[in-house]
C-alpha cells in the first residue's frame, strides 16, 4: 500500500521548510530547522519535552510567528490560499470552551478558512461523515467538554479531516488517549497516507503508530539531530497509563534532563 514514492516524484513535496527559527519570550526555541513532508508518506517529528517539536509544527501552520529561509507548501511559498489544503490537529482544545459546544459544531468549524467565514452547503453531512470516520458519530450532539480525552482527540482529528487535507499535521495525537481511540486514530491516519496524503505527526514515542511512520525527524534543544529511519518502537511507552520509572538506553538521542522523556499525563 505504498503509493508514496511515485507521487512524490511527480508532484512537489507537500511541505519544504528550511531554516525555521522561532523566538518566544526573548528566547530562540528553534535554531534553523530543516524539514520536508511528501505525499503518501508519514513523517514523525520526535524529541523530548522542550525539544521544540510542537513549536516546529505550530510555526509551520502559522499558529505562532516564525522566521524561515523557506516554508513552501505544495511547491509554493506558504500563504492563506493554500490553507484549505492543510489540516492541523493541535495538542488540546484551545482556550475556548467557556460555553458548551457540540462535537458537530467543533467539526463544522473545520470547514471555514480564508474567504470562507460561513460553512459551505452540505457542511452538516460532511461533518457527520468525518465524525463517523473516527467512530465518534454517537457523540455528535454532545458537549465536547464532557467527552473522554480519547473522544475529544478524535473530534479534533475529525475537524482537521473534514477539510480533506492533502497535508495533515498532528501535534501529539496519542497523548492521554485510550487504546480504542489510539486504534481508531491509527486507522484514520493510515487511510489518509495510503490515499496519497502527506502526514506529519509530532510524537513522543512511536507506540501504536510505529507501522505507519516512514521517516522520522528527531529534534533536541531546537536543532535536528537525526533524519531518516524512525527509531525502534518502544512498545509499552506510548500506552496510556504507562508509568515511566526506568532509564532509557534505546532512544535515538539522550534526554536533556532526567524528565525530558517523561510520558505526559
Amino acid at each position: 500500500m505504498h503509493v508514496a514514492d511515485n507521487s512524490a516524484a511527480a508532484t512537489p513535496p507537500a511541505l519544504v521548510a528550511r531554516g525555521v527559527r522561532v523566538r518566544l519570550g526573548g528566547h530562540e526555541i528553534l535554531h534553523g530547522v530543516d524539514f520536508d513532508a511528501h505525499h503518501g508518506q508519514a513523517v514523525a517529528v520526535m524529541g523530548g519535552n522542550g525539544s521544540g517539536k510542537s513549536t516546529l509544527v505550530r510555526a509551520v501552520v502559522g499558529a505562532i510567528p516564525s522566521t524561515a529561509e523557506t516554508i513552501e507548501v505544495f511547491g509554493e511559498p506558504r500563504s492563506r490560499k493554500h490553507a484549505h489544503r492543510v489540516g492541523y490537529v493541535p495538542q488540546r482544545m484551545g482556550a475556548g470552551s467557556g460555553v458548551s459546544a457540540t462535537a458537530l459544531e467543533v467539526v463544522t468549524s473545520g470547514l471555514l478558512g480564508a474567504g470562507r467565514l460561513r460553512p459551505p452547503r452540505g457542511a452538516r453531512a460532511r461533518a457527520l461523515a468525518a465524525l463517523e470516520d473516527l467512530g465518534v458519530e454517537a457523540q455528535a450532539h454532545k458537549d465536547v467538554s464532557t467527552l473522554s480525552g480519547g473522544q475529544q482527540q478524535r473530534v479534533l482529528i475529525a475537524r482537521a479531516m473534514v477539510r480533506e487535507p492533502e497535508l495533515l499535521i498532528l501535534d501529539e495525537p496519542m497523548a492521554g488517549v485510550d487504546v480504542p481511540s489510539q486504534e481508531a486514530l491509527a486507522a484514520a491516519l493510515q487511510r489518509k497516507r495510503d490515499a496519497g496524503g502527506a502526514v506529519v505527526i509530532v510524537l513522543h514515542e512511536l507506540g501504536a503508530l510505529a507501522s505507519l511512520i516512514d521517516h522520522a525527524v528527531v529534534l533536541e534543544h531546537g536543532c535536528v539531530t537525526h533524519v531518516g529511519e524512525p527509531p525502534r518502537a518502544l512498545g509499552v511507552h506510548a500506552l496510556p497509563g504507562h508509568d515511566h520509572d526506568h532509564a532509557h538506553t534505546d532512544v535515538p538521542e539522550p534526554p536533556a534532563s532526567p524528565f525530558a522523556w517523561e510520558v505526559r499525563k
Binding site: 505550530r58 484549505h84 484551545g94 475556548g96 467557556g98 460555553v99 459546544a101 468549524s109 471555514l112 467565514l117
Partner: protein, 297 residues
C-alpha cells in the same frame, strides 16, 4: 393596558427588548473566550467618554450639556476595545492587568473630566446605573441602529467568530483572518456597551451581557443554542425588570441585574437537584438489578 399607549413606556420597552436581545450575543463570545470581564473594562472607558463628551459640550457652549455624552462614549468605548485587543494580541500585558488599568483609568478620568466640565459626580449617576426612563425617540433610533449592527454581524459571522473564540491556534491554521475577527468581537462589545448603557449603566452593563449566558449555559449543550436561549433570557429579564418599575419605584438597571442573579441561583439549584435525583434513581435501579441477579442466582 393604557400603560402600553404611553410613549415613555413604549420607548422603555422597545429599548429593553433590543438591549436584552443583543447584549447576550457578544456576551456568549466573551464567556467562550473566558474574557467575561472585557465588558466591564470597556464600560469604564465608556464612562470617561461620557465625561469627555460632556466637557466638549460645555466648551462648545451647547444648551444641552450632555448632547455629546453618547457620541463620546461610543468613540471612547471603541478606541478602548481596540487598544485592549491589540495589547492582548501582542502579549504586551496579561488580560487581567489590562482590565485593571481600564477599570481605574476609566473611572478616575471620568470623574476628573466631569469636574473639569463644571459638573458633579451626580451628573454621572445616570450613566453609572442607567436611566431608561429618560430615553428619547432619538435614543431609541440610535439603539435600533446599534442593535441591527450587533444582530447582523454577531449572528451572521457566528461560525467564524465561534471558530476564533473556540480555538485560535486552529483558526490560524485554516487561514481565517483571526486578528480581524478578534477585533470584530472587541468592537461589537464596545457597541453593545454603549447601547446598553442607557438601560443598566456602565457599572452593570457587563451583567446584562454575561448573566443570561451564564444561565443559558446551565441547561444547553451547544454553542448556538446557548446564544439563542441567552437572548431570550436577556429579553425576559429586561422586560420584566422594566415592567416591575412601572408599578414600583425601583431602579430598573439594578433590578434587571438582581433578577438575573436570582434566576441564575434558581436554575443552578434546579439543575443540581435534577442531577442528584437522576443519580439516586440510577443507583436505585442498579441496586434493584443486582438484587434481581442475586435472587435468580
Amino acid at each position: 393596558m393604557s400603560l402600553l399607549t404611553d410613549p415613555i413606556v413604549q420607548r422603555m420597552l422597545l429599548v429593553a427588548i433590543m438591549v436584552g436581545a443583543t447584549a447576550p450575543i457578544v456576551g456568549t463570545y466573551l464567556v467562550h473566550r473566558r474574557m467575561a470581564l472585557l465588558g466591564d473594562g470597556i464600560g469604564h472607558v465608556a464612562l470617561a467618554g461620557v465625561a469627555a463628551g460632556w466637557l466638549a459640550g460645555s466648551w462648545a457652549g451647547l444648551a444641552q450639556k450632555d448632547a455629546l455624552a453618547i457620541p463620546g462614549a461610543i468613540v471612547f468605548a471603541i478606541t478602548g476595545a481596540v487598544v485592549i485587543e491589540r495589547m492582548r494580541a501582542r502579549g504586551i500585558a496579561a488580560a487581567d492587568v489590562i482590565m485593571a488599568i481600564m477599570f481605574y483609568g476609566g473611572i478616575a478620568s471620568g470623574v476628573l473630566l466631569i469636574s473639569m466640565a463644571g459638573g458633579s459626580n451626580a451628573n454621572l449617576m445616570g450613566y453609572l446605573f442607567g436611566s431608561i426612563s429618560t430615553v428619547s425617540w432619538d435614543d431609541v433610533w440610535v439603539t435600533v441602529i446599534m442593535a441591527v449592527i450587533i444582530l447582523v454581524i454577531g449572528l451572521g459571522l457566528r461560525p467564524a467568530l465561534f471558530a476564533v473564540t473556540h480555538d485560535q491556534e486552529f483558526a490560524f491554521s485554516t487561514g481565517l483572518p483571526v486578528g480581524a475577527l478578534n477585533m470584530v468581537v472587541a468592537v461589537l462589545s464596545a457597541v453593545t456597551i454603549t447601547a446598553s448603557m442607557r438601560v443598566v449603566g456602565v457599572l452593570l452593563v457587563s451583567g446584562l451581557m454575561i448573566l443570561p449566558v451564564a444561565i443559558s449555559q446551565l441547561i444547553t449543550r451547544s454553542f448556538s443554542k446557548t446564544m439563542t436561549f441567552a437572548m431570550v433570557i436577556g429579553v425576559v429579564l429586561c422586560v420584566t425588570g422594566v415592567g416591575i418599575t412601572l408599578f414600583h419605584n425601583l431602579q430598573p438597571g439594578a433590578l434587571i441585574v438582581v433578577l438575573g442573579v436570582l434566576l441564575y441561583v434558581v436554575v443552578a439549584s434546579g439543575v443540581a437537584l435534577l442531577k442528584k435525583h437522576r443519580h439516586r434513581r440510577d443507583s436505585a435501579a442498579l441496586r434493584a438489578d443486582l438484587r434481581d441477579q442475586e435472587a435468580s442466582a
